[in-house]
């Protein structure tokens, strides 16, 4: 493997809240190889989501280098960053974030509007993605008419519709029951195994982390430790420090 899909070197990020400065990421170094499935764990406030936002090009680092899919994101301005996101990343959120006024199919089509595709091609790509997540029969339903698990699967279909190399998921199972969570995790596993997607998921759920090849533990903005061997399912996980 040559250049990793994600490479962070000396990345720092802090926010001002009220009068005080809050350091969220503190000189962090991290590399995720192409085609890997990594999980990111850590207590609240350890900087997981911030890290994900930096990798996804939703936010800029204060210092250090964030190189994703061969692009140094610090060098891109807002407009270029938007285009870069459209081309390279698929997002999956804890709260699904589907547009409630659009049907499942139209939600999946949304990112495809940014690609130079004909109407028919868009429709084909989107319905294909929905088939992939097993919701071909629900494509004309609105989010409100779907269960949480189904909504999240639509969100995954949306994330893969443009066929990005990298999928970033922030607590994708956080709002789901066990069964739905398992379905979603199965799907992510498939994307990794069958389609060679690079996947980075932020999670509190040890069972979710167990699907990943490696689990990165963050604490107070620093790399705490990396588990290469996931804890076996059902075993009590180490409580977050």
């Amino acid at each position: 493997m040559g250049e990793p899909m994600i490479r962070l070197s000396g990345v720092s990020k802090s926010y001002r809240r009220g009068g005080e400065t809050l350091t969220v990421l503190d000189h962090l170094d991290l590399a995720v190889p192409d085609g890997a499935f990594y999980a990111l764990m850590g207590p609240s406030g350890s900087g997981k989501t911030t890290l994900l936002n930096l990798v996804g090009g939703l936010d800029h680092a204060d210092s250090g280098e964030v190189v994703v899919a061969g692009t140094e994101l610090g060098a891109l301005d807002g407009r270029d960053l938007s285009r870069w996101r459209a081309d390279h990343v698929g997002f999956v959120f804890q709260q699904f974030n589907l547009l409630s006024v659009l049907t499942a199919l139209e939600n999946v089509e949304l990112p495809l509007l940014l690609a130079p595709l004909s109407r028919k091609e868009r429709r084909d790509h989107a319905s294909h993605a929905l088939e992939l997540v097993g919701l071909a029969d629900r494509m004309h339903h609105r989010p409100g008419q779907l269960s949480g698990g189904q909504e999240q699967r639509v969100a995954i279909a949306r994330a893969v519709a443009t066929d990005p190399k990298l999928i970033l998921a922030d607590e994708p199972t956080g709002d789901l029951d066990r069964r739905a969570a398992d379905q979603v995790l199965d799907l992510l596993g498939q994307l990794h195994e069958k389609f060679g997607k690079t996947i980075l998921i932020v999670t509190h759920d040890p069972l979710a982390a167990a699907r990943a090849e490696k689990t990165i533990h963050l604490d107070k903005g620093k790399l705490d430790r990396v588990e290469t061997r996931p804890p076996s399912p059902g075993a009590p996980s180490r409580p977050p420090s």
Partner: protein, 385 residues
């Protein structure tokens, strides 16, 4: 994308409907108010260059001696003259108010080509001394037909025996230009003069004389010569162009046009605020979705455009309804206001202005939330509440 804009607006159908409703009301009101002003000015704007009006220099309520006509006819550059006398009568009931004038019949047609015969005939009017010709609007209001007998009660001019004046409708005219309104009643001066001589024992006086200029005659010269004729009385006259003559009625309304503009400004302001309010609500609720769209790779500009389009669609729909309403109600309002604002009409320029105002409202109401959307940081927009 269009679908998304439409559906986003329909997410709160009640809100969208209410906003469209208030916009429709506002645009209707603006068209209405503006039309009042243009109606006041319409006569002056369309005035005929070939006609001059001779009135008493002292007061609108003072008449001129009949003998003036011959003297005015003798002035160089004058092709012909026509007498106009305000009759001020009413039909059946005092509330049936409309303008009636005793005029010279032939000059009426010669000098006012815009009085176009719509029913009946010119010849029938000329042939019968008791004939009258009425405007289409008036005929419509009272359901008058050609050949019908119309008695008028003379409020200012009473017959010797106090009975009603008898007229017969010989023709109905269409107003070809706004210089004539379609709610006027014209009848023969001779009938008026004879009847008044009988009642009062003296020749009645004339309200105004209208001069038709010879082609090529210079209006200022003729005006000065006519005024000079009666410099030493018995009644001084003031000769004006038709535009000036019409304008004096408009200026008599004093500050009304300014007042109307002021009210229009208030309406606009109130509505702009309401639209900005709606769009802000709309934007605030869609902040998360806009964040999602940005995360998916839509640019800041696209997000702003998304809200701006919603605003334009919303305001455009409301504006179109309001303008449509103004056009639809035009005839009804014209009838209702005929007493103070004869010839009420929504001018094309008013419509154009209303469309412009709608577009500007849409842009302004969309600009504030669009700016908000553009500046919202994706990360914050999606933070769970």
């Amino acid at each position: 994308m269009n679908k998304l804009i439409r559906r986003s607006l329909l997410r709160h159908p009640v809100r969208t409907l209410l906003t469209i409703g208030s916009l429709a009301v506002a645009l209707f009101l603006l068209c209405f108010l503006r039309s009042l002003v243009t109606t006041l000015e319409a006569g002056a704007a369309a005035a005929n260059q070939q006609r001059l009006w001779v009135q008493s220099a002292v007061s609108l309520f003072v008449d001129l001696p009949l003998s003036y006509q011959g003297k005015i006819d003798g002035v160089d550059g004058v092709k012909g003259t026509c007498k106009w006398q305000w009759f001020g009568g009413y039909y059946r009931d005092q509330t049936n108010f409309f303008a009636q004038f005793a005029v010279d019949p032939e000059p009426l047609f010669a000098m006012w080509p815009e009085v176009e015969i719509a029913a009946g005939s010119k010849e029938a009017f000329l042939a019968d001394k008791r004939a009258c010709i009425v405007g289409e609007g008036l005929a419509r209001q009272f359901g008058w037909k050609v050949g019908e007998a119309v008695p008028l009660i003379g409020a200012l001019f009473q017959k010797a025996d106090g009975s009603a004046w008898d007229f017969q409708i010989a023709a109905i005219y269409r107003a070809g230009r706004p210089t004539v309104d379609d709610r006027t009643f014209f009848f023969h001066w001779d009938y008026f003069e004879e009847t008044m001589k009988e009642a009062m024992g003296e020749t009645p006086q004339v309200g105004v004389f209208v001069i038709e200029l010879e082609p090529g005659a210079a209006a200022p010269g003729v005006m000065a010569s006519v005024d000079a004729l009666f410099e030493n009385g018995p009644q001084r006259v003031q000769t004006t162009t038709e535009a000036e003559f019409q304008r004096q009625f408009a200026t008599m309304f004093g500050n009304v046009p300014r007042l109307i503009s002021f009210i229009g400004g208030g309406v606009l302001l109130a509505i702009l605020l309401a639209c900005v309010n709606t769009m802000l609500m709309q934007a605030r609720e869609q902040l998360r979705e806009i964040g999602v769209m940005k995360a998916l790779g839509f640019s800041d500009g696209a997000a702003a455009l998304f809200l701006l389009s919603q605003s334009l669609l919303l305001v455009g729909t409301g504006g179109a309804l309001g303008i449509g309403l103004a056009l639809l109600t035009q005839r009804g309002i014209a009838g209702f206001l005929s007493r103070f604002f004869p010839g009420y009409a929504v001018q094309p320029l008013t419509l154009a202005a209303a469309i412009g105002v709608t577009a500007i409202l849409g842009l302004l109401a969309g600009a504030v939330p669009a700016r908000l959307a553009e500046r919202t940081r994706t990360v914050e927009a999606m933070r769970p509440h």
